[in-house]
């Protein structure tokens, strides 16, 4: 379940982050401001209150404003949304750094070859930017997976609880926190280390293949 | 009036004549021996010019004498202290031998005055005022006293090297090692530094001067050593330097 939360929120974060990136690079002022505002907000909001707000505060506001009851059973979705928003803010920053790091001569060369701006972005800028910031992106995704433990603060149905939440449930029954916690810790460490290795290996392979941009 | 090094008391007994003696010193790196069986003596007030092409091991030899790098065979006598290959460099020698490196000498986060007083305050435990006096004295002699409050990044290469020499001299060393002090300088700046080195030589500082600059070597030194192909030949005749062969790249 941890992995599911991590994967879905990671994917969501990537999509949202990409959209935010577009906003920040856009030529239109209000869109740019929106992008900057998004990053500024969600980078600096801590996860626990954010998730609490999404799962408890939002339904309250919803019913207060619209009079209709808030749909039930959406907790997991909201948790994933919260995680995705947080990570998306960081990803947007990283992607922006990557895009600006691509040498402007590349764009000029592509232009002279007659590529449209969309094609330039797709074939020249993004692939290179992605490779430049791949390690930073990888580390953020791993951090996202670790953040999934914050879901503990939200009462989730048992079958969708993540590792540490399950540990808590078991501890509630056996009155001992030690074993389930240590087990959960090992799981996380293992996941983090393995994912770290895999992603780093992939990132360095990519960089070796292409050659990091000077 | 130049302070006569002979009259400055140091904890280490100043040797009557022999300041430095190398006896069969050899150094090996993984790729192979750098040099072997290097031997020479250096008496008080003598200046030894050490020449050789890049890579011949001159800097390594300087570092060995200064205690920054170990060596594999032979033995050193510095002052009256024995340094053997298989034993740690004696701790008391640090701070007694002045070293001027080719570049990156000065600490970028300290002013010129700060650079010179650092060793005086930390190692010799002088008070702030005493350290400042001593430092300004040496800086005066090197002609860079006006730069005392500037940071190294704002100085020219020649000024930096002169400050480095002042810093080394402020520690009252009985031996001064200079590793290509003019190598990274353009001719004008190099000239400033050469003048100072000559002045030091004339005033009787015991020095080992590693340099490419054969003219400086001839003027400043009383003995000459050539480090070439792993061997060291020493002589009183500058003519030995003519044997310096530049390797074809």
């Amino acid at each position: 379940m941890t992995m599911l939360i991590a994967a879905v929120s990671g994917l969501g974060a990537a999509i949202i982050g990409f959209l935010v990136l577009q906003c920040r690079c856009s030529a239109r002022g209000p869109l740019r401001a929106l992008g900057v505002g998004f990053v500024m907000t969600f980078r600096n909001l801590p996860l626990v209150p954010l998730l609490l707000f999404l799962t408890f505060g939002l339904p309250g506001l919803w019913t207060a404003l619209s009079g209709r009851p808030f749909p039930r059973g959406l907790e997991l979705t909201l948790v994933i949304l919260g995680l995705a928003l947080n990570t998306a803010a960081y990803l947007a920053e990283i992607m922006l750094a990557g895009v600006t790091a691509v040498a402007p001569q590349q764009v000029a060369a592509a232009r002279s070859l007659g590529l449209t701006p969309g094609a330039i972005r797709r074939c020249v800028i993004y692939p290179q930017a992605a490779r430049i910031v791949a390690p930073a992106l990888a580390s953020r995704f791993i951090h996202n997976m670790k953040n999934s433990t914050v879901a503990l603060v939200v009462p989730l149905p048992v079958d969708v609880m993540e590792v540490v939440g399950q540990a808590g449930r078991i501890a509630g029954q056996t009155f001992s926190w030690a074993e389930p916690l240590i087990f959960a810790a090992c799981v996380h460490l293992l996941l983090a280390v393995c994912l770290g290795h895999v992603l780093n290996r992939w990132a360095s392979l990519e960089q070796a293949r292409i050659g990091a941009t000077a | 009036m130049r302070l006569d090094l002979a009259s400055v008391p140091t904890e280490l007994p100043v040797p009557s004549t022999m300041v430095l003696r190398l006896d069969g010193v050899g150094k090996r790196f993984d790729a192979g021996p750098i040099f072997e069986r290097v031997s020479f003596n250096l008496r008080r007030r003598e200046v030894l010019a050490l020449c050789g092409v890049s890579g011949s091991g001159k800097t390594t030899l300087i570092k060995i004498i200064a205690g920054l790098v170990g060596f594999d065979e032979g033995r050193l006598e510095i002052g009256e202290t024995d340094v053997r290959a298989d034993v740690r460099y004696p701790n008391e020698l640090y701070g007694k031998i002045g070293v001027i490196f080719q570049d990156h000498n000065l600490f970028p986060h300290l002013t010129v005055l700060g650079n010179v007083t650092l060793g005086l305050r930390e190692h010799k435990r002088l008070s702030v005022r005493q350290a400042k006096e001593r430092a300004l004295f040496e800086l005066e002699h090197m002609g860079v006293a006006s730069l005392a409050d500037r940071y190294p990044a704002t100085l020219s290469g020649g000024e930096r090297q002169r400050v480095a020499i002042a810093r080394a001299l402020a520690m009252d060393p009985f031996l001064l090692l200079l590793d290509e002090p003019t190598a990274n300088l353009d001719p004008e700046r190099a000239e400033e530094v050469c003048e100072r080195v000559l002045a030091l030589a004339e005033s009787g500082v015991t020095m080992v001067l590693v340099t490419h600059n054969v003219i400086l070597a001839r003027q400043a030194a009383s003995r000459f050593a050539l480090l070439q192909d792993g061997c060291c030949t020493v002589s009183r005749e500058p003519a030995i330097l003519d044997r310096l062969r530049y390797r074809r790249v």
Binding site: R43, P46, G60, A185, L189 | G95
Partner: protein, 250 residues
């Protein structure tokens, strides 16, 4: 309850009953809770973390090549380095929530020791901060030109003097943005202490919701703003420090 009352409780915690108040000190300092407690935990953990981080970074440094070191010294050096590395990598791989839970439950469950919860909170975050601090310091120390160490040695400075007078001042500028970011991270992550009943601002918010008729959404919004303002200001500082660092590298 009015908003200002809610805010006061969130920032400073519940008022103490009058008999528990020591008249010599201002009242709100005696019941650290809410944002006050958050700040207290953050600052204390960072200070201890800095010390811990320095120790870890120094432990992980490779000793300069010393052909004269005997086998015992070498083994000791290796042991210190490996244990420091294990601590750092172990703590880094854990989510903060898990770390907090471990620190709070293991001492009692495994060793039967009870500690005041404030201490445990500070311990957890000191570990967290220390580990990231040590990584930053290691990177900084590696970036120092090795020639600096040699010049220091030749001037007669001991390794400790070289570290204090030469290396640390040199890396201070490079470490600044990382340190500011670490401060922001620790500050925000103290919210995870709410699961272990530490009365910091998030937990107080929940207490408030469960005991008084307040709109939880409003409470949470206040909490979010309370975190967001300092975090944003510090982040702005961090960006400036990053530009300074980039200026150095040029």
């Amino acid at each position: 309850m009015t908003i200002s009352e809610v805010a006061a409780i969130l920032l400073f915690g519940y008022p103490l009953p009058p008999e528990m108040v020591d008249p010599r000190f201002p009242e709100f300092l005696q019941r650290p809770a809410g944002l006050l407690l958050t700040l207290l935990i953050t600052v204390t953990s960072l200070l201890i973390g800095a010390v811990l981080g320095t120790v870890l970074a120094l432990c992980r440094r490779e000793a300069p090549e010393d052909p004269h070191a005997d086998i015992v010294e070498r083994c000791l050096d290796r042991a210190i380095r490996v244990s420091a590395a294990m601590i750092v990598e172990g703590v880094r791989g854990l989510p903060i929530m898990l770390l907090v839970l471990l620190v709070f439950h293991l001492p009692f469950r495994l060793l039967g020791l009870r500690f005041p919860s404030f201490l445990l909170a500070v311990a957890a975050f000191s570990l967290y901060a220390g580990v990231y601090f040590s990584e930053s310091m290691r990177a900084g120390l590696r970036s120092v030109d090795s020639g600096m160490y040699q010049v220091g040695k030749v001037l007669g400075l001991t390794p400790r003097q070289i570290l204090l007078r030469i290396e640390l001042p040199l890396i201070y500028r490079t470490m600044k943005p990382d340190l500011i970011n670490l401060t922001v991270t620790v500050f925000k992550d103290t919210s995870t202490l709410a699961v272990v009943a530490i009365p910091e601002i998030t937990y107080v918010g929940r207490q408030l919701f469960m005991s008084e008729p307040v709109n939880y959404a409003v409470v949470l919004i206040i909490i979010l703003i309370a975190y967001w303002l300092p975090a944003t200001m510090l982040s702005a500082l961090a960006t400036r420090a990053e530009k300074q660092r980039a200026g150095l590298a040029v």
